[in-house]
Amino acid sequence: MSRRIVCAIVWVFVAGTAVAASAQSFRVQCPPSTITHPNAANNNAEPAYTGATNGSTYVYTPGGASAGPVNGAIKCQQISGGDGYATMGDGTQTYLFAFGPLSGLADVANGLPGTQFPAIFNTLPAGPLLPGDPATTDNASTTTTSSGTFGFNGAVGLIPNLDSMGDGNCTGAACIDGHVDPRQIMDVGVMNGNVPAPLMAIDEDDEYFLTLSNVGMIMRPDLFEQHTVHFHGYPNASSFYDGVPDASVAINIGGSFTYYYLAPDAGTYFYHCHITPPEHLQMGMVGQLYVRPRQNRVPSGTSVFMALQAQQSDPRTACNPNTDILCTNPLPYSIVHGTDNSPDGGFQAVDPATKKPLADPETKKYAYNDGDGSTQYDVEYPLQIHGFDPNFHFVGMTFNPEGFADMKDKYFLLNGRSYPDTVTSGPLTTQSADGVNHFSQPLPAIINIPAGKKALLRISDLDVSEYQTLASLGIPMTVIGINAKLLRDQSGNNMYYKTNSITLGGGESLDVILDASDTTRYSSGQVFYLYTPNLDHLANDAENFGGLMTEVHIL
């Protein structure tokens, strides 16, 4: 009985507090330190991976430290949920429901992730940001059209918390605590939709704070739509942060919500809004998200195999096929059993004493914690397959009832672009209904591979209506991962395979390496093609040319 009374008291308390806090709307979250990453000075760069964070007997105790070294850092990002316009391959302006960048504006415009460390996220712009930025100004002069010198990567809207400052609770930079000026968020966020949505990239062991600020859809004021972010493929996600409005909370217009995750296992994931998915996904609320492996942080000259062994001592990072049916990166069989000491065909540096592969001193880029260096690459390109039905987008802009059953895509997109826009460098600019230019499609889809190198393609598909095939005319595709999992059996044998085409439905991803290391076959200046053999998809609506195609250039 006493418990029930206590609960009732708690509830009254909650209800009262909720009312008191109702003034809160937009805000961002990016703590410089947390209990997992307690030292703020260490959270603005990725520390080297020298050992497991915790052992098998570790249990958190309040105020206690991790058993081993603190790994990973803190990363933050802010995106808007709203609308915008994009330019199709035939020049048509297409209406979008879309996410847009509200942090890392300069990086996103350069085709990079908008994900930032706290020291960058929690900074203020040089001057006021204007609608269309960074397509309109360079943020140094309000009258200069952006010439690529726009350098601001912090969170849009941040201002010092004057209340907190006035109360003597903070001074200086500490007053930048997530408090925002909503005018800035509306100025930049309205009609700044991107397709694909701003790129996100984090590292294993990072804590990631993603703030979604719903700025409303100016062209569809009748809809008063909520938005969410679904982190597609996250293993052991919580339903609270899973972004399904039916199973959790959805963010109303004028509100911000910060999603919190410890980075999951390395792999190619993606994200999208989960409100009325056939509509919001078709309309463009789709983006790319990938997680880089611990193995990238292994110090040069140390063995990546030993690093994978070290991960086995922490049950969170371990992969034991005998107790975990979803374990996909067990220790590589070839090295454990000594059947192959240079599994990467000799490309990987090998320790002469232990015969174990060493972390590649040059790139230190791997797709997964493979332990044998077999997923090493030099350059990476996220590629998202999508399709737009111009009919549906027109109906979506013009207050008409939408039908779903006869949805038929006519634009076939790689990173929101159709050929030949796929090979255009830099962001595509579209003038929106507000008369302002916006960077609508910031991410080119051209694949540039330095001669003799390997490219990792992180391919995801968020098409809403049909399966699509992407073929490589030239360099074979080596499939190394599927659905954000290393392609390895539970005995530790790599199951990679070569193919010249892959087929994905909506909600699937895979990792492909284009290996151009044979310079006699793939020499500087050569051009190859990635295109769809679904030949009716090589079109931009009525134009019998374009569609799902891009170029691979050997530099």
């Binding site: 909650v14 958190y60 804590e207 493929g233 609270f240 409005p245 954000a484 909506g506």
Partner: protein, 554 residues
């Protein structure tokens, strides 16, 4: 004015969800599993009937069912009230044991205009014959059956007998082998499950005895400790120690183009009433175009969301007995039997974790030495027409970096559940006491806070500040707090969860408060019912704390 139409669509969806939620609220039990019928003889009949869709439409269909007057043996025994009508979609799930030879008698009670019919059992040894006893006096062993293109067929009003042997375990589709473009579209498909003859169970003893993952014993102990019945058909999917499971669900994906069904109904009716004369030649067979194909209904187990979340054998759906509404506890190994029927592929996306593919069409995928699993782990399991896959899913919350049970060392309410211990096993889980509320908790995050400064009796000092509930809209399956289970939710937010409005009706904060995840086709157009969202190939999967008793009996 036009905007109203769009709003109307949305309102319809909302209404559907409310209706759904209400029905759940009045039916606290959950119903799922993989029910079917077992025996050495299956007396089936192919018949027309109308099935219902959540938009109110009744769709003329054909399907397999149990012959009238027969008394099928329903499995699992823990599900009571099994019904096998003379027509159902999907057809009865046939459960046989590896090595067993069974007889399937099929009576063709389709309209005469539909012609012959049959069943294909791809992947199994089949022999066909006409039986001596025929339902129709005009049937003789020579007229009863006809050799079709793919298999032996039963002529109208007559029956054919198939003798099949469950050579290897696994899940496989069965479907009509006669004019498949029409008959399968009309609903003539089902699943046959072959159970292993020597199922593996218990803890690991040796490579040939006990389950490799060593979970089956303790998960069974937890089930017993919390008073739950066992709804499995077996303990392992194959005669292999990697394939043990604690719970199982069957999902069959298909789609319907209502125009085909309407045309079939019109022609069947016209032919039946046609008066033949010298001036009027009646057609004898159907001529229903099955292309171009524009499906508008996308179904799992013959039902569209939200109907698929109503119970198995629900009287509202006399011809659609099977549901799709999985529930599971943290740590349980859940066998998914996923089958593509119909003619399209569907990317079935399982929120919350990956699925390890064990087998395709009953073929276990192992490493070359046969000692380990080699199928992929997928978060989207594409269904392909006629193809079945078996996979294992689980959820533990590992690596969330906050305690999903909201354990609080310095509990202010004195709730003993707030201060439960977590003692990690070799894999970091609390498995020592199967009767504990937090059995299978991920111990690294035990008592680790989520919220910076929570209101209730859950730990503070965490990384996240939750927003004002007023700027959020709560879903019908939102448990009322970020935490798992009624105890933690009540401690965190009170017995009604963080509202306003008190919108959580399908997953009550004080009764269930599970983690709800959507499992659906990711070709998102297919989560609609005849152009209305939500609907189609969609369901909610709930991860429930041990406080909530998962009861799949009817």
């Amino acid at each position: 004015m036009k905007a109203l139409f769009t709003t109307a669509f949305r309102k319809t969806g909302l209404l559907l969800m409310l209706m759904m939620a209400t029905s759940l609220a009045t039916t606290p039990l959950v119903h799922a599993a993989a029910p079917g019928i077992k025996g050495s003889t299956f007396d089936l009949i192919a018949q027309p009937a109308f099935i219902t869709q959540p938009d109110g439409q009744s769709v003329y269909s054909w399907g397999y069912g149990c012959a009238p007057g027969t008394s099928p043996d329903f499995e699992p025994k823990t599900i009571v009230g099994g019904v096998c009508n003379s027509m159902q979609i999907p057809g009865p799930t046939l459960i046989v044991t590896e090595g067993q030879t069974v007889t399937v008698n099929l009576v063709n009670a389709l309209p005469a205009a539909a012609g012959n019919t049959s069943i294909l059992f791809p992947g199994l040894q089949v022999a066909a014959s006409a039986t001596a006893s025929q339902p129709n006096a005009s049937c003789t062993p020579t007229t009863a059956i006809a050799q079709g293109l793919l298999t032996t067929e039963a002529t109208h009003g007559c029956s054919v007998t198939y003798t099949i042997t469950g050579t290897t375990p696994g899940t496989r589709a069965y479907y009509s082998g006669t004019q498949g473009d029409l008959q399968i579209e009309m609903g003539m498909y089902g699943v046959i499950i072959v159970l292993p003859s020597t199922p593996v169970k218990g803890n690991y003893v040796s490579p040939t005895q006990g389950c490799v993952a060593d979970l089956e014993s303790s998960n069974s102990a937890a089930r017993t400790a919390w008073g739950e019945a066992d709804f499995r058909l077996s303990t392992s999917a194959y005669d292999d120690p990697h394939t043990c499971y604690d719970r199982e669900y069957l999902f069959q994906f298909s789609e319907m183009d209502p125009r085909i069904h309407e045309a079939a109904f019109e022609q069947v009716s016209a032919i039946a009433t046609c008066a033949s004369s010298t001036t009027n030649m009646c057609p004898t067979g159907l001529d229903v175009p099955t292309e171009p194909y524009h499906p508008a209904y996308f179904m799992i187990n013959g039902r569209s969301m939200p109907d698929d979340m109503d119970p198995n054998y629900s009287p509202q759906y006399p011809h659609q007995p099977y549901n799709g509404n999985p529930h599971l506890h943290p740590g349980e190994q859940v066998l998914l039997r996923i089958v593509g029927q119909g003619r399209w592929q569907h990317p079935f996306h399982e929120h919350a974790n990956h699925v390890r593919v064990l087998a395709r069409d009953g073929n276990l995928i192992l490493t070359q030495d046969g000692k380990a699993l080699a199928g992929p782990a997928l978060f989207t399991t594409t269904t392909t027409p006629g193809q079945a896959m078996d996979g294992i899913f689980y959820y533990t919350g590992r690596g969330l970096n906050w305690d999903m049970y909201g354990h609080e060392v310095a509990s202010s309410t004195g709730d003993p559940n707030a201060t439960l211990p977590c003692i990690p096993d070799a894999n970091g889980y609390n498995t020592g006491n199967p009767a504990a509320l937090n059995y299978y908790e991920w111990c690294q995050d035990h008592t680790k806070p989520l919220q910076v400064s929570p209101f209730g009796d859950v730990p503070g000092g965490g990384p996240a500040t939750l927003p004002d509930p007023n700027i959020l809209t709560n879903g019908a399956w939102y448990g009322g707090s970020p935490y798992l289970g009624p105890d933690a939710t009540t401690r965190a937010t009170g017995a009604t969860g963080t509202t306003p409005p008190s919108g959580t009706i399908a997953n009550s904060p004080s009764g269930e408060a599970g983690f709800a995840f959507m499992w659906h086709s990711h070709n998102e157009r297919e989560i609609t019912t005849n152009n209305a969202f939500p609907g189609g190939m969609m369901m909610m999967m709930l991860v429930d704390s041990r406080e909530f008793q998962i009861d799949e009996s009817n």
